[in-house]
Symmetry: C2
Subunit: 190 residues, 2 copies
């Protein structure tokens, strides 16, 4: 998706060989026009699929999923919680996720009230890196026996091999921008 690649090149800050910060438009300040274009593109790529719900994960997936849902008949968005408060009830699906960026493990949770075996779920997230967060979301959906209709990612860092984690599962994975390398301060797209 050219508009997204342009944004990455113009506003992305390469922190090191593995990390690019896109706070300007994706993770802290949100470019709502861009998000709408991404939503349209997800709709195009999953146009044949019946979707009843979008699942994402806090924090950065939420706005992307919400804008995208408008292109899928306003289906409900559910986000897995990383920072569940004490007033979250215990009737949840949960999965452990390891974050390489933050070097810590955390538990993601979704209330059982908001996923059902009848759901056909599109997973949306901002980044695909090592694939740990994605595997966590897939685990939540497996626990509930929901169908995974597809996976939509904004930026895939191909050199971190997240895609390999789900190969063989027969899932349609679509990334709007795929970065092959961040070496030498340069973004190289696939």
């Amino acid at each position: 998706m050219e508009l997204l690649k342009d944004k990455i090149c113009t506003h992305g800050k390469i922190i090191d060989n593995r990390i690019i910060q896109v706070d300007n438009f994706l993770n802290h300040q949100l470019d709502i026009h861009l998000f709408n274009e991404m939503g349209k593109e997800f709709k195009r790529r999953f146009s044949g699929k019946e979707i009843t719900k979008i699942l994402t994960i806090e924090t950065s997936g939420i706005a992307i999923a919400s804008i995208t849902a408008q292109y899928f008949n306003n289906v409900p968005v559910v986000f897995a919680k990383k920072h569940a408060g004490s007033n979250m009830n215990q009737h949840v699906y949960e999965a452990k996720v390891y974050s390489y960026t933050k070097d810590q493990e955390y538990t993601i949770k979704v209330s059982k009230d908001f996923l059902s075996p009848n759901d056909k779920v599109l997973i949306i997230d901002d980044f695909l890196a090592s694939g740990c967060a994605l595997l966590g979301l897939i685990s939540l959906l497996s626990q509930c026996d929901a169908e995974i209709a597809g996976i939509g990612i904004v930026i895939e860092k191909a050199f971190q091999n997240g895609r390999k984690q789900i190969e063989g599962k027969g899932l349609q994975l679509e990334s709007l921008a795929i970065i092959d390398s961040l070496r030498d301060g340069q973004v190289v797209f696939k």
Copy 2:
């Protein structure tokens, strides 16, 4: 806003005299159709105002702010971070916020890159209770000398007096539903 009040009555779970859980449509599962109607209503209430940016706070404000931004010419949304990662730079405005619900103090942060003295900012949040989070957001904007164009709240719990915290500041505060009481397991709107 009748649609919102209906949702609160139908799907809100009264936890005690002070807390109503609206996870079904606002805080965990997100009703995107409702969010669009809320966005239109915020636009109606702030129709005379020039807005260049929307400021909200993670987590639950993000989707509301993002959908609402579409009715304000797709202005950028910036969210204050509660859980800033170690890779957030130190060039930030910050404020301390006490959460009565969680009985803990936390620091909210916004990068200085995404707020400027030229901004005319609409603050959007899901709840107004004691007003601490709102005062934190106002503090961030004061530090940056940005203009506060207005404050849009989805659910105000009038019995927790958050509105009193900002009286006298000359700010337009609009709440889409105002709850006067949650006593005896009943939602009483103003």
